[in-house]
Symmetry: D2
Subunit: 327 residues, 4 copies
């Protein structure tokens, strides 16, 4: 589904009192309905289990069809259970670890019931905080074994690992593209891949286009989250707010890789009280403008020549003109 | 001298063997001559004492006139003397500290002899590396007293403090805009101000336009160094390589402040072997393109309204269109 | 009150179900009661308004007396009101800004009613996220004017500014020691000072002992929050978890400055599910061990000589022996 | 050779005028002689080609024997050739790339002639600076192919990849433990492994003990460089200057892994003018003190229990007492 745009459903909770006056409880169905009002936003990702507590997969599937929204996939959320604070797949207590694995399988089943085929795992609880807190080798083995079990549960579902350097843990176990691809190799399942989140990549001190290229080379690039930030933490800013050129390079690279999944806006307008619909519309508009610039660059033989020679000055001039120049 | 562009003279050393075949020694006069070949580059900053070791102020002044280059000012370089490794104005040995102060005064005198009026002090040697290495109160007092003495040497010369978080020291004493303005207040001299370096500001975790605004509000903004980087260290990349929007915001702010000094490109093409003339030309072209975008934005009443309301979404859309939109 | 230890009251909410079985609502009085069970923990800071919603200052004062706890002071919390997401003292809407100022004055009055005299302001909502979002000069003026008004409300109350680089905003206005002291100078009130938080200082890229020394030199050091982290974000780890030497240097410096306020543990055991009482006890034990090492160092003439000469090697060896050596 | 200590030879150049009065040229043999005066320093690493330009492998081997120094290994230095500024194994020009590979093979041969068996590759030139400068897939393939060729040159020599996030390039290709192990897997040679440098690991945002554990698990840990820094850049500080607990955890982990190579002090006393012999002696003393603390911890069953449960508080208390407690 090339060109699909999805946005973080929870962002649409903000201003609920004004948007849904008199309502006591806002469900994920309501959030999807509000998201559907944004022109061009045509897909959603659901968090499991929280977005399905008030409904059934069947009801949600029908509602999405009515709203004209595609289901991009599911994302597991282990933070709804306080028991996962010290780890999901790497929790030291085998009972809690088992619960996390089984919950993930239930999530995969629920998604299949809705016709979806992409489960995103952000294993943010799996990590450590202080020196001498954990046996790193055991953490690694537990993580790899759990991912393997989850990936084996349904080979028709793609499982994407979304890495992030830290938060809530001081250190995440799968913190960057290298460790993520290493874990994926250790598992060795064909339905495993990577979701890159632009802001996570930046604060992992990586170049987004390189992370995408490495993911495609060593595994599969299954998801792309766009947003922006200052490369220090997960700021959740609007696309293009800071890193114009790196976002452009990523878009050109996605095209080259042949990525045809959705662009998901993982931004936090709610954090500072922005209108989530206007914010989503701004993200779509910016990506469309950047895609136009990407089209001006992608078949430029001068750019290809400059890149082959690692001639940074020539490449830079071509890129600056494609962004800022007369047209 | 609005609109003047200057570049780091030492960058023009690269490829000296090919540019000056058979020459054993390349002087600062040679570097200025090479810089003058760049279309639009019309000013130079000289490092003292190193750029004057092979010539006299009078000879250099004449040569600049011949080349059609203005003298933007001088910048002190304390690293030419190994004795300054542990500090210039804050060196624990009073003899070394005195030498640094006196050398600075000689630099001011030499600059005056060339008709200049802006001395930039990057006090990179003044700092510390490890806990328990220094008495911070004494460092501060020594720094403030030395700056005061240097500023008093010639009240017709503007003295600009260029801050930087670290390198070569693990911590610089004057590391960010706040401590720099605090020191300037402690000194209280009318001819003191600030030079902001875009990459330094980024890795001090500051917003460039805010640093410029604070400098203008609490002291005077005397110099602007443009370049780019990834906000982790002093990368010395070409203008616009990473931070398009923040560079644009800085240019709009400079215009609002009424900054009429030179734009100095403090970039390191030599570090990775780029052609310094092509690199300087790229910097000029990018700034000209950004200035055109700034002109599209500066009198936009919709942008003014958005900023007054801190309406990030509306401001963002206007900015993205000014950069990437049709025109 | 030298030697007093306080801890973050909200950390004691964790495990509430097991600690207070059958209880529906846990009040700040309950949290104080639980905190009082920690041996050596003898003071509390209350957040205003949230810690007083279930009780009156008079009742809380009595309860603290019964528990043998001193009131260290109050800390304003502007995040309880969704209206402050885009700013408290710098909110673009004058009505919201006025509400924040007035709420702070009510907090000061409530604290006075409980016999307290230290109000801590962490102005985390006052900042910005994206370029072109705000007029930095106006933000600064609004912040300074509001702090001035609050400080003038009751000259017998000390008002401490606690700076932090970011979070929840991408950039806080008062982000580091330099800008904080600059704002304090702009206000010019005698009852204004600084609270330093160890983890905030680290990720502001500052040396904790230098921040304390600068605060004492240019204003007053009114509060000290100990914790630890990796200098990238506000990790909230136990004291000593990472930065042994810098914590030690800070303790030596506090002694030299004559700081006699409480040590407040601003840690997040709740984030990862640690026992808050055991965690607080660990913090007290570590600080006591570090104070013993500080006592071994503070009057050592060899260390004084090394510091005067900025002789990092000699100072380092003395410090390593004081920490790790035989005794 | 368990327990061997080596230090950066080039650090011993500082103060050459005083140490070798009247000498015009200081050779690597001289540096080794000066290093040998440090009590406990019993091994050296040589940089190739620069440390062998004034002598032959045979002469150097004899001199080391006379001085009682073991040869720990060689480290390639590609920065002596200006041609490598834009890459060694990933240089866009096949001629330059071939020269880098061939020079590495000559280095391996020279080392073998001296009886050594460990070649360390820090591929700091292989990377990129700006978006759109390089084809990341080609960089990766060129790097992997060159490492494979070099590893195949002499299977009796261990080849260690020493990763570092950046500098001199804005981004290194092999920047962290994950990408390094991924490349090693792509090569698949039995004589390939990893050298971890404490300061590099810190500013790659990794936990040193975890990097060592992952290296041992997925390849082999062939070298350990100790030093310290502030996790922002390669500060080159003395061991223990900042990260006491993480250094201790690394030493405990090295023991558990069975690492029996040398500890190499990769510090920069020359950067700030410290006495290199006193600085090396300080590093040895600190590591010995930390090893004594490690011995107090390694067989503590309470610590093993705490780590198995990821009980950060209990582990922390045991560690703090082992460092700071009475004994």
């Amino acid at each position: 589904m090339p060109g699909r745009y999805a946005a973080r459903l929870n962002a649409f909770k903000i201003g609920a009192g004004a948007y849904w006056p008199g309502r006591n409880r806002i469900t994920a169905l309501d959030l999807a309905e509000r998201a559907a009002t944004v022109d061009g936003l045509d897909a959603v990702d659901l968090n499991f289990p929280d977005h399905l507590v008030d409904t059934t997969p069947a009801e949600f599937k029908d509602r999405l069809a009515t709203l004209g929204l595609a289901l991009n996939g599911f994302a597991m959320r282990y933070y709804t259970n306080p028991g996962y604070k010290r780890g999901a797949f790497t929790h030291p207590d085998p009972t809690v670890r088992r619960a996390a694995i089984d919950e993930t399988k239930r999530g995969i089943d629920a998604m299949r019931a809705m016709g979806g085929s992409l489960m995103t795992l952000w294993l943010g609880q799996d990590g450590f905080d202080t020196p001498f807190q954990a046996d790193y080798g055991r953490l690694w083995d537990d993580e790899v074994a759990a991912i393997a079990e989850v990936a084996a549960h349904d080979r028709d579902v793609d499982v994407a690992i979304e890495y992030k350097p830290n938060e809530p843990r001081a250190f995440a176990l799968l913190s960057d593209i290298g460790t993520t691809l290493l874990a994926i190799r250790d598992v060795g399942a064909p339905n495993l891949g990577v979701t890159i989140d632009f802001a996570h990549v930046l604060y992992a001190d990586e170049m987004p286009a390189m992370a995408a290229a490495l993911a495609a080379k060593h595994a599969r690039l299954l998801g792309v989250h766009l947003n922006d930030g200052y490369a220090k933490r997960d700021d959740g800013l609007m696309v293009g707010a800071v890193h114009t050129v790196q976002t452009l390079e990523l878009l050109v690279t996605l095209d080259r890789i042949g990525y045809d999944g959705a662009i998901y806006f993982d931004t936090f307008p709610d954090l500072v009280g922005l209108d989530p619909c206007a914010e989503a519309a701004a993200n779509i508009e910016t990506v469309e403008l950047l895609r136009a610039a990407a089209a001006r660059l992608k078949d430029d033989p001068a750019l290809a020549t400059a890149i082959a020679a690692q001639d940074a000055v020539s490449a830079h001039r071509l890129v600056q003109r494609a962004i800022l120049g007369p047209r």
